[in-house]
């Protein structure tokens, strides 16, 4: 019984740390709990914590709380956990196998790191073009964006809050663009905007409003606060450099 509880808990925790939506976490936990033979499953997922209560048929109640300290968006893990939980609830896969698979997913570090860095660079360039930059602006933003992503993931190895990471990334972006603009004729605002788009909280903000609109008030408020904090951090990082540089 005990291992079934930790299995369900692990699935929920993994989904949350990979950045799944709250309803997906709650649905998955509920589905897996029912499939594992619990008569009643109560689950409350928020972006910063998971609360779970499983009622066994013998009348025992297992309650677990998990604190979620970091979120590292990983959609392919979400997709794999989703497939696992479906297979589990249909009885196509044994409890041991699910546990093993989940533990493997928990361990698995990200692969194709260089591709990610180059792609995010190109993404930053694309944003500069979308906000009306020239091709030269786009190119500069690509280079700067790639460096920013490398810098942020390097800082991310240390226990530094996400907001501070965004601040540092923005500072790096703005200083690079500032120095580049001394050599190349650039539309500095657009290039900086493209480069910091990789840090900007667009998705978080939209998810916050989505949560609010669908009645997930706690999650909505918490994500809204996160989006606000990140936006302030990014803007401050840029503003510090620009005011020192006198732009």
């Amino acid at each position: 019984m005990e291992e079934l509880v930790s299995l369900v808990l692990l699935a929920g925790e993994l989904l949350l740390t990979c950045g799944a939506e709250m309803y997906r976490v709650e649905e998955t936990v509920e589905r897996m709990g029912k499939a594992a033979g619990f008569s009643q499953v109560e689950v409350f997922a928020t972006p910063t914590g998971l609360f779970l209560s499983l009622h066994s048929k013998q009348g025992q109640v297992f309650t677990r709380v998990r604190r979620i300290r970091y979120v590292d968006n990983n959609l392919s893990k979400i997709s794999q956990i989703n497939a696992l939980s479906r297979a589990f609830s249909k009885g196509e896969i044994s409890i041991d196998d699910v546990t093993k698979e989940l533990e493997r997913l928990q361990q698995k570090e990200m692969d194709f790191k260089w591709v990610v860095n180059i792609a995010s660079g190109l993404g930053a360039g694309a944003f500069a073009l979308m906000y009306g930059g020239t091709l030269l602006d786009g190119f500069t933003a690509s280079v700067v964006g790639a460096i920013v992503v490398i810098a942020v993931s390097w800082i991310g190895k240390y226990p530094i809050p996400r907001v501070l990471q965004a601040f540092t990334g923005a500072t790096v972006a703005a200083s690079l663009v500032y120095f580049a603009s001394l050599i190349i004729p650039l539309e500095t605002d657009v290039v900086i905007l493209g480069a910091v788009m990789l840090l900007a909280p667009g998705v978080v903000m939209t998810t916050a409003i989505r949560d609010m609109l669908s009645g997930e008030l706690v999650s909505g408020v918490s994500r809204g606060a996160e989006a606000l904090a990140i936006a302030v951090a990014v803007a401050t990082g840029v503003a510090v450099v620009l005011s020192i540089g006198g732009l």
């Binding site: 968006n73 392919s76 194709f112 993404g123 360039g125 694309a126 903000m205 939209t206 989505r210 936006a231």
Partner: protein
Amino acid sequence: MMIQAAAGFMSAAAFACLYRVPRHQIIRCGLVGGLGWLVLLLTGDYLGEIGAMFLASAVVAVCSEILARRVRQPVIVFLVPGVIPLVPGGRAYLTMLSFLRNDYVKGLELLVSTIFLAGAVAAGIILVSSIFRAISRTKHRKEAVVWRMR
């Protein structure tokens, strides 16, 4: 326009990589994102900023739901990268930058438009996903009943 479409594609594909989308789906994510960006650009003059944003995010959501069902992936695999060109992250940053530069009037203007644009994106997504959920619920109702009895 070609450059804009390519840029929309690229930004969505880049975020697909950044969010570690399963490798085979990256191109599809880019296509969804590029399509959304084109819809936004083409309808902006007729529907106004917020209307166009709503339409574009609804288009992205419909494509994501259909693709997700076709290739058996969770919807967010396509939805999150797909709305990347639309979400007003840059505007949120510009809002704060205006405040920091003591330009409060412009900051407030940007703040309000950021909130409404994010709201339009969210509303488009929610509307579409509710419709799709309602449809698939009626389709699977039989299964659901069996499920509850077990």
